[in-house]
Symmetry: C2
Amino acid sequence: MTRRTDTRQRIIDAARELLYTRSYGDVGVQAICERAGVKKGSFYHFFPSKQALTLAVIEEHLLISKRQILDQAFDPALPPLERLRRFATRVYDVQKELRDLTGQVLGCPFGNLALEMSTQDETLRRELQQVFQRLEGLLRDTVQEAVARGELPGPVDATATARAMLAYMEGVMLLAKTANDVELLRQLMPALTRLRVTPAEVDATPTAPPAAQAS
Amino acid sequence: MTRRTDTRQRIIDAARELLYTRSYGDVGVQAICERAGVKKGSFYHFFPSKQALTLAVIEEHLLISKRQILDQAFDPALPPLERLRRFATRVYDVQKELRDLTGQVLGCPFGNLALEMSTQDETLRRELQQVFQRLEGLLRDTVQEAVARGELPGPVDATATARAMLAYMEGVMLLAKTANDVELLRQLMPALTRLRVTPAEVDATPTAPPAAQAS
């Protein structure tokens, strides 16, 4: 039983590393088996497909993010704005650690997979959308509490503001990965705490064509 | 001469569509040749590799973005904050058009390629970094003008603020693609105009470890 669990975990760990440092399209089952030191038959005993393994890898990334970032940042004992600041700091710290280890800014494992796979694999897209909804939920609760405590001046749509904060984090990760410069995260992440989306912006009807807005 | 140019352009158009709707890893030279209706020999006459073709595709995306978004948004005749609003609106309009056409939110072609390829292909990473630097330049000039005209209260680091706006746009695109919901762009993009990064945040030394900040 222990050996069975070990093999499964070894496959997940190998796939997590390869997918995170390369891409879904570039990493085949063969390469994962070689890295994990298992035979293909053993692989397919645990996972029917690369897609199924990737779902397990996403789950593993979420556990690690929870341990390394989310549990520390979204600590109910902290004032809400401090949680957002802690979130910004921890994202930088973890990316810096990975950069020091690998020489590259790896960015967000969920964002990486989401941009590569969302138009190609509906199962992975939905799974990644659910991951983002969980992160958004943590941010939304924090924004709501900040508004209730008067730490965040309104009017604020808490859901849209949380989504804006998540978007900003993902975008800063994207630029930092493209520039291979982890210091972008340190410089840009603090502005996350000042993002606001108003109820009027959420309710607005589709925008008028540009001509109608010309001066 | 005309036929030569036509063939080259047909290859670029086919690759642009396939790479944008799928991914770099998923699209091979064979698939591009089939879509373009050319033989492999003809392909390699124009492009030594998929990487070389992808550089031409990035250039083509930039021309299209200029025509569809950037020239309309960053019109020097408009007040600077109106340029930012126009940018937010045009990004939504173009993504909505593509969604109506394909049924999918495709997101930013540069961001898609950047997250998939930055750790794997240094030539593509540098090219995409340069694209982002050009977009950042347009935003930076706009922010600087807004500050000079008193439309944007300081203190503001114009370069870092432009980078934050670009990051936010990329992140909103990422969430919209993952949710396959183009309306996220309409709701979230207007907040881009309110992003600010201060000179103090840019100059700050690396953050203290979390323990030192605990309450």
